[in-house]
Assembly symmetry: C2
Homo-oligomer: 181 residues x 2
DNA sequence: GTCCGATGGTAGGACGTCCTACTATTTCCC
DNA sequence: GGGAAATAGTAGGACGTCCTACCATCGGAC
């Protein structure tokens, strides 16, 4: 539960070099790709998504570390907080968070060990495990939310309009890939 | 080196539920966030990036698995292929690929074990290790490139214009976070 | 020349994800 | 009702990333 050591860098993300490159490595790769391979539009977009995800993940995890959370665990906490009864079956959590069942098990294990959630029996289906957010979990969620919103989730450099446009474009991709109907 | 088992799903990505949800889980979360927390624009965009990265990573890795590559190793191979001499110092590879030095070590270890690259001594600096793509590596890159372009890197649902717009938006973020000057 | 800080790379360990199997329970269909 | 098939969750293992610590080498200050 300690903040990471300071580095000699302006970079927010954890994956960093000492100094930012003087050129855009993705744009350069795209140029070379056009020369040697073919149209690079898709390649460039995919690489960009990968890289930005890495930046955001690192920024958010850094903001959450003092609160003993990762982004995945934070998302789980928020999901339970939003739920009507403050509890959900593991399986539903996996669907909403788009996670493998075993990842849900892992996440809930950690949250439960920290006393932020607890597993309770489902009233009618004995196969099902309900996960319920505790009072400590609610408080932790509030504090963690302040931390991540304070750093804008690591998303910088966009206007609100551009941010919304980004979300829309990505939603098209998610729908086309069958994330939702 | 075997293709993954078929699942009962239309979803391209590896992380999947049996059926797509009938609603957009990110849009729903954004609505709840607006109700309970505040403006959800940034939160929605960040979650979307995370999810799309997961989809793309899974699609690309699936396409590359028959070729014995992950996306990270494929990127390394492409980087060396593009380089003038067919070789680069480990450190430079880490800068271009935005990877931790130890991750570069890991990736090069795997590629070398498969005979796709080899470590050679730097002519003047004995600290530095050069990584050189082999003929087998060049052939593997060509085959792998066909595989990933055949599935469009998993990026579906966007026009070329929209794909370019996505790249531009993400470049703004990368620049703002100090990825490049 | 020599020393000391900076640089390049690797080893070992933590963490989080996924996958494959496995058990327990429920549901469906005859 | 009785049994096959589906469903919920977990255990154990592989993989890839990061971090800290470490060793070897280089380069500059004196």
């Amino acid at each position: 539960m300690r903040l990471p050591k300071e580095k000699f860098s302006l970079v927010i993300s954890g994956t960093m070099t000492a100094q930012p490159l003087p050129f855009d490595p993705i744009a350069r790769a795209a140029t070379l790709w056009e020369e040697h391979v073919g149209p690079a539009t898709v390649m460039g977009a995919v690489t960009s998504v990968m890289r930005v995800q890495q930046i955001l993940q690192s920024a958010v995890d850094t903001a959450l570390r003092p609160h003993g959370l990762t982004f995945a665990r934070y998302e789980a906490l928020v999901l339970l907080f939003f739920s009507r009864r403050g509890s959900l079956p593991m399986r539903v959590m996996g669907q909403r968070l788009q996670l493998h069942p075993t990842s849900v098990t892992n996440i809930v294990d950690r949250l439960e060990a920290d006393g932020l959630v607890k597993r309770i029996a489902h009233p009618t289906d004995r196969r099902t495990t309900l996960v319920e957010i505790t009072e400590a979990g609610r408080q932790r969620r509030a504090a963690a939310t302040e931390a991540v919103t304070a750093v804008e989730f690591g998303l910088r450099g966009l206007t609100d309009r551009q941010t919304a446009a980004l979300t829309d474009l990505l939603a098209k991709v998610r729908r086309a890939c069958g994330d939702f109907a």
